[in-house]
Symmetry: C2
DNA sequence: AAAAGAATTATCATATTATGATAATTAGTA
DNA sequence: TACTAATTATCATAATATGATAATTCTTTT
Protein backbone atom coordinates (compact mmCIF):
# COMPACT_ATOMS: atom_id res chain seq x y z
CA UNK A 1 0.00 0.00 0.00
CA UNK A 2 1.43 3.37 -0.89
CA UNK A 3 0.62 7.01 -1.39
CA UNK A 4 -2.92 8.18 -1.09
CA UNK A 5 -4.23 4.63 -1.29
CA UNK A 6 -2.96 4.08 2.23
CA UNK A 7 -5.45 6.63 3.50
CA UNK A 8 -8.21 5.86 1.05
CA UNK A 9 -8.35 2.20 2.04
CA UNK A 10 -9.12 3.18 5.58
CA UNK A 11 -11.75 5.72 4.62
CA UNK A 12 -13.40 3.19 2.33
CA UNK A 13 -14.14 0.97 5.30
CA UNK A 14 -16.63 3.49 6.62
CA UNK A 15 -20.15 3.10 5.33
CA UNK A 16 -23.68 4.01 6.23
CA UNK A 17 -24.12 0.57 7.76
CA UNK A 18 -20.84 0.58 9.60
CA UNK A 19 -19.73 4.07 10.53
CA UNK A 20 -17.62 3.28 13.60
CA UNK A 21 -14.34 1.38 13.53
CA UNK A 22 -11.68 0.71 16.12
CA UNK A 23 -8.01 0.67 15.18
CA UNK A 24 -7.91 -3.05 15.85
CA UNK A 25 -10.82 -3.69 13.53
CA UNK A 26 -9.17 -1.64 10.81
CA UNK A 27 -5.90 -3.42 11.41
CA UNK A 28 -7.51 -6.83 11.04
CA UNK A 29 -9.56 -5.81 8.07
CA UNK A 30 -6.59 -4.42 6.14
CA UNK A 31 -4.16 -7.05 7.43
CA UNK A 32 -1.79 -4.34 8.57
CA UNK A 33 -0.09 -4.11 11.98
CA UNK A 34 -1.93 -1.93 14.47
CA UNK A 35 1.09 0.23 15.15
CA UNK A 36 1.00 1.31 11.53
CA UNK A 37 -2.73 1.91 11.59
CA UNK A 38 -2.46 3.92 14.80
CA UNK A 39 0.06 6.18 13.12
CA UNK A 40 -2.03 6.67 10.00
CA UNK A 41 -5.26 7.18 11.90
CA UNK A 42 -3.60 9.79 14.08
CA UNK A 43 -2.54 11.70 10.99
CA UNK A 44 -6.05 11.64 9.62
CA UNK A 45 -7.54 12.74 12.91
CA UNK A 46 -5.19 15.73 12.87
CA UNK A 47 -6.38 16.53 9.38
CA UNK A 48 -10.00 16.09 10.53
CA UNK A 49 -10.73 13.36 8.01
CA UNK A 50 -11.33 11.04 10.95
CA UNK A 51 -12.58 11.82 14.40
CA UNK A 52 -12.20 9.86 17.58
CA UNK A 53 -15.00 8.95 19.92
CA UNK A 54 -14.46 7.24 23.23
CA UNK A 55 -14.41 3.47 23.46
CA UNK A 56 -11.55 3.68 20.96
CA UNK A 57 -13.95 4.17 18.11
CA UNK A 58 -13.22 6.33 15.11
CA UNK A 59 -15.61 7.81 12.62
CA UNK A 60 -15.45 9.99 9.51
CA UNK A 61 -14.40 13.51 10.36
CA UNK A 62 -15.89 16.92 9.74
CA UNK A 63 -13.54 17.70 6.85
CA UNK A 64 -15.99 15.91 4.59
CA UNK A 65 -18.82 18.19 5.62
CA UNK A 66 -16.66 21.19 4.97
CA UNK A 67 -15.49 20.13 1.50
CA UNK A 68 -18.93 18.90 0.60
CA UNK A 69 -20.22 22.36 1.33
CA UNK A 70 -17.58 23.93 -0.87
CA UNK A 71 -18.61 21.66 -3.72
CA UNK A 72 -22.25 22.39 -3.07
CA UNK A 73 -21.70 26.10 -3.35
CA UNK A 74 -19.21 26.05 -6.18
CA UNK A 75 -19.80 23.03 -8.43
CA UNK A 76 -21.08 24.38 -11.75
CA UNK A 77 -23.49 21.48 -12.22
CA UNK A 78 -25.02 21.90 -8.79
CA UNK A 79 -25.00 25.68 -8.97
CA UNK A 80 -26.56 25.70 -12.40
CA UNK A 81 -29.08 22.96 -11.78
CA UNK A 82 -30.10 23.12 -8.13
CA UNK A 83 -32.36 26.19 -8.46
CA UNK A 84 -34.34 24.56 -11.27
CA UNK A 85 -35.23 21.39 -9.42
CA UNK A 86 -37.91 23.06 -7.34
CA UNK A 87 -39.30 24.90 -10.36
CA UNK A 88 -39.40 21.66 -12.26
CA UNK A 89 -41.27 20.02 -9.39
CA UNK A 90 -43.81 22.84 -9.30
CA UNK A 91 -44.43 22.77 -13.04
CA UNK A 92 -44.76 19.02 -13.36
CA UNK A 93 -48.41 17.97 -13.69
CA UNK A 94 -48.13 15.43 -10.85
CA UNK A 95 -46.12 15.14 -7.66
CA UNK A 96 -42.48 14.23 -8.35
CA UNK A 97 -38.89 13.77 -7.26
CA UNK A 98 -36.43 15.70 -9.38
CA UNK A 99 -32.85 14.73 -9.65
CA UNK A 100 -29.53 15.96 -10.99
CA UNK A 101 -27.13 13.07 -11.38
CA UNK A 102 -23.73 12.57 -12.93
CA UNK A 103 -21.21 9.97 -13.85
CA UNK A 104 -19.02 9.11 -10.89
CA UNK A 105 -16.31 6.62 -11.65
CA UNK A 106 -18.20 3.58 -12.86
CA UNK A 107 -21.44 4.60 -11.24
CA UNK A 108 -24.02 7.29 -11.37
CA UNK A 109 -24.27 9.64 -8.43
CA UNK A 110 -27.09 11.94 -7.52
CA UNK A 111 -25.68 15.41 -6.79
CA UNK A 112 -28.87 17.31 -6.04
CA UNK A 113 -32.50 16.40 -5.52
CA UNK A 114 -35.81 18.05 -4.80
CA UNK A 115 -38.90 16.16 -3.75
CA UNK A 116 -42.36 17.75 -3.93
CA UNK A 117 -43.64 18.17 -0.37
CA UNK A 118 -46.61 16.01 -1.32
CA UNK A 119 -44.48 13.13 -2.61
CA UNK A 120 -44.82 10.43 -0.01
CA UNK A 121 -42.81 7.39 -1.09
CA UNK A 122 -39.13 7.05 -0.33
CA UNK A 123 -36.98 6.85 -3.41
CA UNK A 124 -33.46 5.60 -3.99
CA UNK A 125 -32.40 8.92 -5.42
CA UNK A 126 -30.83 11.05 -2.72
CA UNK A 127 -27.87 13.35 -2.91
CA UNK A 128 -24.56 11.53 -2.66
CA UNK A 129 -25.97 8.10 -3.26
CA UNK A 130 -24.44 5.87 -5.89
CA UNK A 131 -26.90 4.47 -8.36
CA UNK A 132 -26.64 1.49 -10.71
CA UNK A 133 -25.36 2.37 -14.14
CA UNK A 134 -27.81 0.45 -16.26
CA UNK A 135 -31.11 0.82 -14.42
CA UNK A 136 -33.47 3.77 -14.35
CA UNK A 137 -33.97 6.73 -16.64
CA UNK A 138 -31.65 8.95 -14.60
CA UNK A 139 -28.73 6.65 -15.35
CA UNK A 140 -29.81 5.92 -18.89
CA UNK A 141 -29.69 9.58 -19.87
CA UNK A 142 -26.12 9.59 -18.63
CA UNK A 143 -24.78 6.40 -20.13
CA UNK A 144 -26.38 7.10 -23.48
CA UNK A 145 -23.93 9.98 -23.88
CA UNK A 146 -21.03 7.59 -23.79
CA UNK A 147 -19.86 5.72 -26.87
CA UNK A 148 -17.08 3.56 -28.21
CA UNK A 149 -14.54 1.91 -25.99
CA UNK A 150 -15.49 3.86 -22.90
CA UNK A 151 -19.05 2.53 -23.19
CA UNK A 152 -17.82 -0.99 -23.76
CA UNK A 153 -15.63 -0.87 -20.67
CA UNK A 154 -18.46 0.42 -18.52
CA UNK A 155 -20.92 -2.13 -19.84
CA UNK A 156 -18.54 -5.01 -19.30
CA UNK A 157 -18.46 -4.25 -15.59
CA UNK A 158 -22.19 -4.94 -15.35
CA UNK A 159 -23.72 -8.36 -14.86
CA UNK A 160 -26.29 -8.87 -17.53
CA UNK A 161 -28.35 -12.01 -17.15
CA UNK A 162 -27.73 -12.99 -20.74
CA UNK A 163 -26.04 -11.74 -23.88
CA UNK A 164 -29.51 -11.05 -25.20
CA UNK A 165 -30.18 -8.69 -22.32
CA UNK A 166 -26.98 -6.87 -23.11
CA UNK A 167 -27.80 -6.53 -26.80
CA UNK A 168 -31.26 -5.28 -25.91
CA UNK A 169 -29.85 -2.72 -23.56
CA UNK A 170 -27.50 -1.39 -26.21
CA UNK A 171 -30.35 -1.23 -28.72
CA UNK A 172 -32.53 0.75 -26.29
CA UNK A 173 -29.59 3.03 -25.62
CA UNK A 174 -29.27 3.76 -29.30
CA UNK A 175 -32.98 4.48 -29.60
CA UNK A 176 -33.00 6.83 -26.64
CA UNK A 177 -29.94 8.60 -27.97
CA UNK A 178 -31.90 9.37 -31.12
CA UNK A 179 -35.02 10.44 -29.24
CA UNK A 180 -33.02 12.62 -26.86
CA UNK A 181 -34.76 11.44 -23.71
CA UNK A 182 -35.45 8.31 -21.66
CA UNK A 183 -38.31 6.61 -19.93
CA UNK A 184 -38.14 3.66 -17.55
CA UNK A 185 -40.62 1.92 -15.30
CA UNK A 186 -39.88 0.34 -11.93
CA UNK A 187 -36.23 -0.38 -12.71
CA UNK A 188 -34.94 1.20 -9.53
CA UNK A 189 -37.96 1.48 -7.23
CA UNK A 190 -41.14 -0.51 -7.69
CA UNK A 191 -44.20 1.57 -8.46
CA UNK A 192 -42.14 4.49 -9.71
CA UNK A 193 -41.44 5.69 -13.23
CA UNK A 194 -38.70 8.00 -14.46
CA UNK A 195 -38.16 10.45 -17.30
CA UNK A 196 -34.76 11.94 -18.05
CA UNK A 197 -32.76 14.12 -20.41
CA UNK A 198 -29.01 14.34 -20.83
CA UNK A 199 -26.91 17.21 -19.60
CA UNK A 200 -23.31 17.66 -20.59
CA UNK A 201 -20.49 20.12 -20.74
CA UNK A 202 -17.42 19.12 -22.61
CA UNK A 203 -15.19 21.82 -21.18
CA UNK A 204 -15.97 20.82 -17.62
CA UNK A 205 -16.05 17.11 -18.30
CA UNK A 206 -19.62 16.89 -17.08
CA UNK A 207 -21.68 13.88 -18.12
CA UNK A 208 -24.97 14.22 -16.32
CA UNK A 209 -28.74 14.03 -16.44
CA UNK A 210 -31.85 15.80 -15.26
CA UNK A 211 -34.77 13.60 -14.35
CA UNK A 212 -38.23 13.52 -12.87
CA UNK A 213 -39.57 10.53 -11.01
CA UNK A 214 -43.29 9.89 -10.48
CA UNK A 215 -45.66 7.43 -8.90
CA UNK A 216 -46.92 5.09 -11.59
CA UNK A 217 -50.39 5.34 -10.03
CA UNK A 218 -50.53 9.11 -10.51
CA UNK A 219 -49.45 8.99 -14.13
CA UNK A 220 -51.73 9.53 -17.12
CA UNK A 221 -50.66 9.45 -20.75
CA UNK A 222 -51.68 13.07 -21.27
CA UNK A 223 -48.98 14.13 -18.77
CA UNK A 224 -46.19 12.89 -20.97
CA UNK A 225 -45.77 15.81 -23.36
CA UNK A 226 -45.73 18.30 -20.50
CA UNK A 227 -43.13 16.28 -18.62
CA UNK A 228 -40.85 16.10 -21.65
CA UNK A 229 -41.32 19.74 -22.44
CA UNK A 230 -40.34 20.69 -18.89
CA UNK A 231 -37.32 18.44 -18.78
CA UNK A 232 -36.09 19.57 -22.18
CA UNK A 233 -36.53 23.25 -21.39
CA UNK A 234 -34.85 23.07 -18.02
CA UNK A 235 -32.15 20.75 -19.31
CA UNK A 236 -31.14 23.32 -21.88
CA UNK A 237 -31.29 26.08 -19.32
CA UNK A 238 -29.03 24.15 -16.98
CA UNK A 239 -26.52 23.64 -19.78
CA UNK A 240 -26.63 27.32 -20.61
CA UNK A 241 -25.94 28.29 -17.00
CA UNK A 242 -23.12 25.78 -16.69
CA UNK A 243 -21.49 27.46 -19.66
CA UNK A 244 -21.89 30.91 -18.16
CA UNK A 245 -20.47 29.76 -14.85
CA UNK A 246 -17.47 28.24 -16.56
CA UNK A 247 -16.85 31.41 -18.53
CA UNK A 248 -16.85 33.40 -15.31
CA UNK A 249 -14.35 31.04 -13.76
CA UNK A 250 -12.02 31.30 -16.73
CA UNK A 251 -12.26 35.05 -16.79
CA UNK A 252 -11.36 35.11 -13.10
CA UNK A 253 -8.32 32.93 -13.65
CA UNK A 254 -7.08 34.98 -16.58
CA UNK A 255 -7.34 38.12 -14.54
CA UNK A 256 -5.62 36.82 -11.43
CA UNK A 257 -2.93 34.97 -13.37
CA UNK A 258 -2.03 37.98 -15.46
CA UNK A 259 -1.80 40.16 -12.36
CA UNK A 260 1.71 38.92 -11.70
CA UNK B 1 5.76 17.96 3.49
CA UNK B 2 5.03 14.37 4.33
CA UNK B 3 2.27 11.88 4.93
CA UNK B 4 -1.31 12.99 4.70
CA UNK B 5 -0.33 16.64 4.89
CA UNK B 6 0.96 16.37 1.35
CA UNK B 7 -2.58 15.73 0.17
CA UNK B 8 -4.34 17.93 2.66
CA UNK B 9 -2.36 21.01 1.66
CA UNK B 10 -3.63 20.68 -1.87
CA UNK B 11 -7.23 20.12 -0.83
CA UNK B 12 -7.07 23.12 1.47
CA UNK B 13 -6.45 25.39 -1.50
CA UNK B 14 -9.96 24.77 -2.75
CA UNK B 15 -12.59 27.11 -1.40
CA UNK B 16 -16.03 28.40 -2.22
CA UNK B 17 -14.43 31.48 -3.76
CA UNK B 18 -11.78 29.58 -5.67
CA UNK B 19 -12.91 26.11 -6.60
CA UNK B 20 -10.78 25.54 -9.71
CA UNK B 21 -7.01 25.21 -9.72
CA UNK B 22 -4.51 24.27 -12.37
CA UNK B 23 -1.49 22.16 -11.52
CA UNK B 24 0.73 25.15 -12.22
CA UNK B 25 -1.22 27.32 -9.84
CA UNK B 26 -1.01 24.68 -7.13
CA UNK B 27 2.67 24.23 -7.81
CA UNK B 28 3.35 27.95 -7.43
CA UNK B 29 1.16 28.28 -4.42
CA UNK B 30 2.81 25.43 -2.54
CA UNK B 31 6.28 26.18 -3.90
CA UNK B 32 6.64 22.59 -5.09
CA UNK B 33 7.80 21.44 -8.53
CA UNK B 34 5.00 20.77 -10.95
CA UNK B 35 6.19 17.25 -11.69
CA UNK B 36 5.57 16.40 -8.05
CA UNK B 37 2.18 18.07 -8.03
CA UNK B 38 1.16 16.30 -11.22
CA UNK B 39 1.94 12.99 -9.59
CA UNK B 40 0.03 13.77 -6.41
CA UNK B 41 -2.94 15.24 -8.22
CA UNK B 42 -3.15 12.18 -10.44
CA UNK B 43 -3.31 9.98 -7.36
CA UNK B 44 -6.11 12.04 -5.91
CA UNK B 45 -8.03 12.02 -9.16
CA UNK B 46 -7.83 8.22 -9.15
CA UNK B 47 -9.19 8.24 -5.63
CA UNK B 48 -11.91 10.68 -6.71
CA UNK B 49 -10.88 13.32 -4.21
CA UNK B 50 -10.09 15.58 -7.14
CA UNK B 51 -11.63 15.67 -10.56
CA UNK B 52 -10.25 17.10 -13.77
CA UNK B 53 -12.03 19.44 -16.07
CA UNK B 54 -10.66 20.58 -19.39
CA UNK B 55 -8.45 23.63 -19.63
CA UNK B 56 -6.21 21.79 -17.18
CA UNK B 57 -8.41 22.74 -14.28
CA UNK B 58 -9.00 20.54 -11.28
CA UNK B 59 -11.77 20.70 -8.73
CA UNK B 60 -12.82 18.81 -5.61
CA UNK B 61 -14.02 15.33 -6.45
CA UNK B 62 -17.21 13.41 -5.77
CA UNK B 63 -15.68 11.39 -2.93
CA UNK B 64 -16.58 14.26 -0.64
CA UNK B 65 -20.24 14.04 -1.60
CA UNK B 66 -20.19 10.33 -0.96
CA UNK B 67 -18.54 10.50 2.45
CA UNK B 68 -20.63 13.47 3.44
CA UNK B 69 -23.69 11.40 2.76
CA UNK B 70 -22.40 8.59 4.91
CA UNK B 71 -21.86 11.03 7.76
CA UNK B 72 -25.26 12.52 7.20
CA UNK B 73 -26.97 9.19 7.48
CA UNK B 74 -24.87 7.75 10.24
CA UNK B 75 -23.57 10.53 12.50
CA UNK B 76 -25.35 10.11 15.85
CA UNK B 77 -25.64 13.86 16.36
CA UNK B 78 -27.21 14.43 12.97
CA UNK B 79 -29.36 11.32 13.15
CA UNK B 80 -30.58 12.19 16.62
CA UNK B 81 -31.07 15.89 16.04
CA UNK B 82 -32.06 16.38 12.41
CA UNK B 83 -35.67 15.17 12.82
CA UNK B 84 -36.30 17.62 15.65
CA UNK B 85 -35.22 20.75 13.82
CA UNK B 86 -38.42 20.94 11.82
CA UNK B 87 -40.56 20.21 14.87
CA UNK B 88 -38.72 22.90 16.76
CA UNK B 89 -39.35 25.34 13.92
CA UNK B 90 -43.06 24.51 13.91
CA UNK B 91 -43.47 24.89 17.65
CA UNK B 92 -41.55 28.14 17.97
CA UNK B 93 -43.92 31.11 18.38
CA UNK B 94 -42.28 33.03 15.53
CA UNK B 95 -40.53 32.16 12.30
CA UNK B 96 -37.02 30.80 12.89
CA UNK B 97 -33.85 29.12 11.71
CA UNK B 98 -32.92 26.09 13.79
CA UNK B 99 -29.42 24.82 13.98
CA UNK B 100 -27.40 21.86 15.23
CA UNK B 101 -23.76 22.85 15.58
CA UNK B 102 -20.67 21.28 17.04
CA UNK B 103 -17.08 21.95 17.90
CA UNK B 104 -14.87 21.43 14.86
CA UNK B 105 -11.20 21.85 15.60
CA UNK B 106 -10.97 25.41 16.84
CA UNK B 107 -14.22 26.46 15.28
CA UNK B 108 -17.89 25.78 15.48
CA UNK B 109 -19.52 24.04 12.56
CA UNK B 110 -23.17 23.79 11.69
CA UNK B 111 -24.03 20.15 10.95
CA UNK B 112 -27.75 20.45 10.28
CA UNK B 113 -30.20 23.29 9.85
CA UNK B 114 -33.87 23.85 9.20
CA UNK B 115 -35.32 27.19 8.20
CA UNK B 116 -39.04 27.89 8.48
CA UNK B 117 -40.40 28.34 4.96
CA UNK B 118 -41.55 31.81 5.98
CA UNK B 119 -38.13 32.92 7.21
CA UNK B 120 -36.88 35.34 4.59
CA UNK B 121 -33.47 36.65 5.62
CA UNK B 122 -30.29 34.81 4.79
CA UNK B 123 -28.36 33.69 7.82
CA UNK B 124 -24.75 32.67 8.31
CA UNK B 125 -25.79 29.32 9.71
CA UNK B 126 -25.78 26.71 6.99
CA UNK B 127 -24.69 23.13 7.11
CA UNK B 128 -20.93 22.70 6.78
CA UNK B 129 -20.11 26.33 7.41
CA UNK B 130 -17.52 27.22 9.98
CA UNK B 131 -18.67 29.77 12.54
CA UNK B 132 -16.70 32.05 14.86
CA UNK B 133 -16.09 30.54 18.25
CA UNK B 134 -16.92 33.49 20.43
CA UNK B 135 -19.88 35.10 18.68
CA UNK B 136 -23.51 34.07 18.67
CA UNK B 137 -25.59 31.93 20.97
CA UNK B 138 -25.01 28.79 18.89
CA UNK B 139 -21.28 28.97 19.55
CA UNK B 140 -21.65 30.15 23.12
CA UNK B 141 -23.65 27.08 24.11
CA UNK B 142 -20.79 25.03 22.78
CA UNK B 143 -17.81 26.85 24.23
CA UNK B 144 -19.46 27.15 27.61
CA UNK B 145 -19.11 23.38 27.97
CA UNK B 146 -15.36 23.67 27.82
CA UNK B 147 -13.27 24.48 30.85
CA UNK B 148 -9.71 24.58 32.13
CA UNK B 149 -6.73 24.51 29.84
CA UNK B 150 -8.69 23.51 26.78
CA UNK B 151 -10.82 26.63 27.15
CA UNK B 152 -7.78 28.80 27.68
CA UNK B 153 -6.13 27.47 24.55
CA UNK B 154 -9.22 28.08 22.48
CA UNK B 155 -9.74 31.57 23.85
CA UNK B 156 -6.14 32.54 23.24
CA UNK B 157 -6.59 31.92 19.53
CA UNK B 158 -9.21 34.65 19.38
CA UNK B 159 -8.51 38.33 18.93
CA UNK B 160 -10.26 40.20 21.66
CA UNK B 161 -10.13 43.97 21.33
CA UNK B 162 -8.97 44.33 24.91
CA UNK B 163 -8.26 42.30 28.00
CA UNK B 164 -11.47 43.75 29.40
CA UNK B 165 -13.45 42.24 26.54
CA UNK B 166 -11.88 38.90 27.26
CA UNK B 167 -12.66 39.04 30.96
CA UNK B 168 -16.23 40.04 30.17
CA UNK B 169 -16.62 37.17 27.78
CA UNK B 170 -15.42 34.68 30.38
CA UNK B 171 -17.78 36.18 32.93
CA UNK B 172 -20.75 35.84 30.59
CA UNK B 173 -19.69 32.30 29.85
CA UNK B 174 -19.77 31.48 33.53
CA UNK B 175 -23.21 33.01 33.90
CA UNK B 176 -24.64 31.15 30.95
CA UNK B 177 -23.14 27.91 32.20
CA UNK B 178 -25.14 28.39 35.41
CA UNK B 179 -28.33 29.33 33.60
CA UNK B 180 -28.01 26.44 31.18
CA UNK B 181 -28.80 28.43 28.06
CA UNK B 182 -27.60 31.41 26.04
CA UNK B 183 -28.99 34.47 24.35
CA UNK B 184 -27.21 36.82 21.98
CA UNK B 185 -28.26 39.70 19.78
CA UNK B 186 -26.80 40.60 16.40
CA UNK B 187 -23.40 39.09 17.08
CA UNK B 188 -23.31 37.07 13.88
CA UNK B 189 -25.99 38.60 11.65
CA UNK B 190 -27.45 42.05 12.16
CA UNK B 191 -31.12 42.11 13.02
CA UNK B 192 -31.11 38.53 14.22
CA UNK B 193 -31.14 37.10 17.74
CA UNK B 194 -30.22 33.64 18.90
CA UNK B 195 -31.14 31.29 21.72
CA UNK B 196 -29.22 28.10 22.41
CA UNK B 197 -28.79 25.14 24.73
CA UNK B 198 -25.83 22.79 25.07
CA UNK B 199 -25.80 19.25 23.79
CA UNK B 200 -23.12 16.80 24.70
CA UNK B 201 -22.21 13.16 24.80
CA UNK B 202 -19.08 12.19 26.58
CA UNK B 203 -18.84 8.72 25.14
CA UNK B 204 -18.99 10.01 21.59
CA UNK B 205 -16.89 13.08 22.25
CA UNK B 206 -19.70 15.33 21.09
CA UNK B 207 -19.64 18.96 22.18
CA UNK B 208 -22.56 20.60 20.45
CA UNK B 209 -25.53 22.93 20.66
CA UNK B 210 -29.12 23.28 19.55
CA UNK B 211 -30.24 26.80 18.72
CA UNK B 212 -33.06 28.86 17.31
CA UNK B 213 -32.46 32.12 15.48
CA UNK B 214 -35.13 34.77 15.03
CA UNK B 215 -35.68 38.18 13.48
CA UNK B 216 -35.30 40.78 16.20
CA UNK B 217 -38.31 42.59 14.73
CA UNK B 218 -40.60 39.59 15.22
CA UNK B 219 -39.58 39.02 18.80
CA UNK B 220 -41.70 39.88 21.86
CA UNK B 221 -40.73 39.29 25.47
CA UNK B 222 -43.61 36.90 26.00
CA UNK B 223 -42.07 34.51 23.45
CA UNK B 224 -39.04 33.90 25.58
CA UNK B 225 -40.34 31.24 27.98
CA UNK B 226 -41.79 29.21 25.11
CA UNK B 227 -38.55 29.38 23.19
CA UNK B 228 -36.52 28.19 26.14
CA UNK B 229 -38.99 25.47 26.97
CA UNK B 230 -38.80 24.16 23.39
CA UNK B 231 -35.04 24.28 23.22
CA UNK B 232 -34.63 22.58 26.58
CA UNK B 233 -37.12 19.85 25.82
CA UNK B 234 -35.71 19.07 22.41
CA UNK B 235 -32.13 19.39 23.63
CA UNK B 236 -32.75 16.68 26.20
CA UNK B 237 -34.51 14.54 23.63
CA UNK B 238 -31.60 14.84 21.24
CA UNK B 239 -29.19 13.78 23.98
CA UNK B 240 -31.39 10.83 24.83
CA UNK B 241 -31.45 9.67 21.21
CA UNK B 242 -27.72 10.11 20.83
CA UNK B 243 -27.30 7.75 23.77
CA UNK B 244 -29.64 5.19 22.29
CA UNK B 245 -27.88 5.34 18.95
CA UNK B 246 -24.52 4.83 20.60
CA UNK B 247 -25.80 1.86 22.57
CA UNK B 248 -27.00 0.27 19.36
CA UNK B 249 -23.62 0.78 17.76
CA UNK B 250 -21.82 -0.82 20.69
CA UNK B 251 -24.18 -3.74 20.75
CA UNK B 252 -23.55 -4.27 17.05
CA UNK B 253 -19.79 -4.25 17.53
CA UNK B 254 -19.91 -6.67 20.43
CA UNK B 255 -21.97 -9.06 18.39
CA UNK B 256 -19.87 -8.94 15.25
CA UNK B 257 -16.57 -9.00 17.10
CA UNK B 258 -17.52 -12.01 19.19
CA UNK B 259 -18.69 -13.87 16.11
CA UNK B 260 -15.14 -14.91 15.33
C1' DA C 1 -2.59 18.93 -42.09
C1' DA C 2 1.42 20.42 -40.08
C1' DA C 3 3.75 22.82 -36.63
C1' DA C 4 4.19 25.12 -32.38
C1' DG C 5 3.10 25.23 -27.78
C1' DA C 6 1.10 23.60 -23.61
C1' DA C 7 -0.06 19.93 -20.59
C1' DT C 8 0.99 15.65 -18.83
C1' DT C 9 3.61 11.49 -17.99
C1' DA C 10 7.92 8.75 -17.62
C1' DT C 11 12.62 8.05 -15.90
C1' DC C 12 15.90 7.48 -12.35
C1' DA C 13 19.50 8.42 -8.82
C1' DT C 14 19.08 10.18 -4.36
C1' DA C 15 16.92 11.87 -0.19
C1' DT C 16 13.17 11.16 2.59
C1' DT C 17 9.68 8.59 4.78
C1' DA C 18 6.95 4.58 6.13
C1' DT C 19 7.05 0.18 8.21
C1' DG C 20 6.40 -3.01 11.93
C1' DA C 21 8.29 -5.52 15.86
C1' DT C 22 8.88 -4.33 20.39
C1' DA C 23 9.06 -1.53 24.46
C1' DA C 24 7.22 2.25 27.07
C1' DT C 25 3.58 5.03 28.43
C1' DT C 26 -1.09 6.45 29.25
C1' DA C 27 -6.05 5.95 29.96
C1' DG C 28 -9.89 3.39 31.48
C1' DT C 29 -11.97 0.34 34.70
C1' DA C 30 -13.06 -2.73 38.52
C1' DT D 1 -4.98 0.52 43.97
C1' DA D 2 -3.96 -2.69 40.50
C1' DC D 3 -5.07 -4.53 36.35
C1' DT D 4 -6.02 -4.38 31.42
C1' DA D 5 -6.58 -2.27 27.14
C1' DA D 6 -5.37 1.56 24.25
C1' DT D 7 -2.06 4.44 22.44
C1' DT D 8 2.48 6.30 21.55
C1' DA D 9 7.59 6.02 21.05
C1' DT D 10 11.77 3.89 19.18
C1' DC D 11 14.66 2.51 15.52
C1' DA D 12 16.94 -0.32 11.93
C1' DT D 13 15.51 -1.45 7.51
C1' DA D 14 12.67 -1.56 3.45
C1' DA D 15 9.94 1.12 0.65
C1' DT D 16 8.61 5.38 -1.40
C1' DA D 17 8.64 10.22 -2.74
C1' DT D 18 11.20 13.77 -4.87
C1' DG D 19 12.47 16.74 -8.61
C1' DA D 20 15.34 17.68 -12.62
C1' DT D 21 15.00 16.41 -17.16
C1' DA D 22 13.42 14.02 -21.17
C1' DA D 23 9.67 11.99 -23.66
C1' DT D 24 5.06 11.90 -24.93
C1' DT D 25 0.42 13.38 -25.65
C1' DC D 26 -3.06 16.77 -26.25
C1' DT D 27 -4.58 21.53 -28.09
C1' DT D 28 -4.50 25.21 -30.70
C1' DT D 29 -3.10 27.86 -34.50
C1' DT D 30 -1.85 28.67 -39.03
Amino acid sequence: MSGFQRYKKILDLFSEERSFWTVLEISKSLKTPSSTIYRIVREMVTAEFLESASGSYFRLGPAFIKFNRIINFSDPLVRAGQPFLKKLANENPITSVNVLARLYGNNVMCVADYKSPTFKKNTSYQRGKLMPLIYGATSRAIIMQITGKRLENLINLENFKSDEDKTNFLKELKNDRKKGYCFTEGQVDKGLIGFAVSISNKKLGIVASLSSIFNLDDFLLEHEPIIYANLTTYGLLVEKYINEIFDDIQKYHHETNSMR
